[in-house]
């Protein structure tokens, strides 16, 4: 059962030309969507260093979106192809670390697809909500945590 109280935090890396403009369009068109996403503008989806994504998770994000121009429409010709290739590698790496693949999305949103952006935020928020909090920060924080290992079975030789 998804936790209805849990409000996922999603960081969105949006390319300035297509996706950020598309997200702005959702605004000028007053299309409502959940407030779970916080946009960060980059010039191109190809600028999204996988380290940004890892950092976002490490800093407490429950989901990360990378959005760029549709393949073939990149303002910088081919930057989005780099994002496209990095994405499955990164998803695979995070998966190996127990970060569910569904927490990371790569989507193509053009400047005219405000409604698509809104729909995406809706569905992504729901999906991440269903996964529950990542709590990465808390997981990696404890230092020298002491746990009894079979202390209760203390034996006498």
């Amino acid at each position: 059962m998804p936790d209805q109280q849990f409000e996922p935090k999603i960081v969105g890396f949006l390319c300035r030309w297509c996706s950020y403009t598309g997200a702005d369009l959702a605004g000028t068109s007053r299309i409502q969507y959940p407030s779970n996403i916080a946009p960060i503008k980059v010039m191109c989806s190809g600028r999204v260093d996988p380290t940004f994504v890892i950092t976002a998770f490490a800093d407490g994000a429950d989901g990360v979106l990378i959005a760029g121009c549709h393949p073939g429409d990149c303002h910088y010709s081919v930057g989005n192809y780099k994002a496209m290739r990095r994405f499955p590698m990164l998803a695979k790496l995070l998966d190996q670390f127990g970060i569910e693949r569904a927490r990371l999305r790569l989507e193509w949103i053009s400047a005219s697809e405000g409604h698509l952006y809104a729909d995406l935020v809706k569905s992504f928020s729901e999906e991440v909500r269903a996964l529950g909090p990542l709590r990465w920060k808390q997981r990696i924080a404890p230092l020298c945590e002491s746990v009894d290992i079979a202390r209760s079975q203390a034996a006498t030789v």
Partner: protein, 656 residues
Amino acid sequence: MIAQDEKIGVYVCHCGTNISGTVDVSAVAEYARTLPGVAIVREYKYMCSEPGQDLIRKDIEELNLTRVVVSSCSPLMHEVTFRKACNDAGLNGFLFQMSNIREQCSWVHDDRERATAKAKQLLAAAVLRVGQQVAMEERIVPVRPETLVIGAGIAGIEAAVRLADAGRKVYLVERLPSIGGHMAQFDKTFPTLDCAACILTPKMVSVGQHPNIELLTYSEVEAITGYVGNFRVRVRRRATSIDPTKCVGCGLCWEKCAVKKVPSEFDAGMSMRTAIYVPFAQAVPNKPVIDREHCLHFTRGKCGICQKTCPADAIDFDIQDEILDLEVGAIIVATGFTLFDAGELARYGYGRLDNVLTALQFERLSHASGPTGGEILTKSGERPGAVAILHCIGSRDENHLKYCSRVCCMYSLKFAHLVREKTHAEVYNFYIDMRAFGKGYEEFYRRVMSEGVHFIRGKAAEVSTVAETPEEEGKLIVVGEDTLLGVTRRIPVDMVILASGMRPAEGTEKLARILSLGCTRDGFYLEKHVKLAPVDSPSDGIFLAGACTGPKDIPDAVAQGAAAAAGALSLIDKGRVIIEPITSEINPEVCAGCQLCIMTCPYTAIHFDSERNVSVITEELCKGCGTCVAGCPSGAARQKSYEDSQIYAEIEGVLA
């Protein structure tokens, strides 16, 4: 980390009630006071107004602010405004940051509490980010003097001619074989009843002959890269199969063409054309193209009559599509509209019942060079005794086009007049509201009323063929409520004209993606500002004209064409443009010379300096995408304005 001695000024905008209606601005401002380095926080009704900007200027001067953050609308909207305000007060504009709490917060969330929480997140991101920003110089780049005009309807033609007359080179790209657009199809123009061809043809000719206009018909824009002043455009010239240098346009080829049954696009399907054809007699350029979809040579590998017939030996089946790479400083988009497909509304019978015509079909029917030589006749060749004109077909309809198409009322009046004049038939206009807003329009409405045209205030509900009385037998019966009487009326007529609405031209969305333009929900291009910048697109250097931003009549389209030309000209004439310094550079202290960035760069802007064993970016060639930065494994590459540290600060901020 924000240095100890920083003094950051934070300004939270209400934007009237645009922001404060949903976001608790005071709470956001209160929160801002808790952020590191923040020296002063103010909220104001309209930060972008002169007094709003003054607040910033004054604080910079009096409080010696070292950095400024404005929480308001999209940076795509007002970043330049506030940056300039900072510069005016002596603070480097790049020590300024904006947080977008309108487009991406107050306008898209209705829960006050959560919208306020998000506004705080976004503000924190901006404050942390600004702490990492550095003073920079603006970058000035030269502007190329050429302009690309996409679409050669009346708006595009107007823009091209204006620019060309000003002595500037114009590339005019048109998808169809001829320029002229929809206006070339029209019979008369309202309200003056000028002959459309008479006023358009001279303009078309001047386009064809202008030394400064390079006409690229039968062509489409495929890709655009670059930025204001320096666009690189890829255009595909579709193969016409005709060598234009040899063809004299004698017409023998299409006379002989074996394929004669292709519905003519220009005549809106009211007549047939051949596979090798000139769309209409006054076409510019007046040289045929071969429609390869229908040509027997291409579909079945036989025929070739035209080639044998051509006295100039101009027909060459082997001509291939040509790819042109153009460099231009400005782009004007004038891709126009297409008619709403009345077939979507089965109840009006278009495509099902004879003598139900679209507006464009009627234009052709009434046009002297149309299929009937300008006589208004039913399909059986008779003069109609009664004609109904149904307004708002597709328009003002939640299920189809939500907007008013603006021109239909007036062209419907024009049709009514033409029908009365040419046939003396009874004419019934079924309308919801009569919108006659332009110069001379209301007068024209009165004139048509005085001509005995019937006006029924009510939208026609359907066109029926089921007669209920003997008078209705064999007629098209238009059923609609006369709302002024509160009575449903059934009007038997011989011809129905559907005043179909306007929707964006086919391919508008695709071009929007290529150009990174925004579209409204209706699919029309989005202007930079619907009132104050109606011919500017949100992307610098790209202008919009005509019906591609919404339905327009001819005078408005022409005015916009001229306005867009003025916009392009003011850019070109200045010869240079200030752009944000977002280029990348490589720190030679860190670079190990692995050269992976060189392979990553889409612009060959990076080269290897073997002397120093480091990679070097040529700033002039760098477009600032930052891909090399993400691909630099040692962290030597950095992107100005989008430094890693700034992004990390932002991530930290939004997750605070």
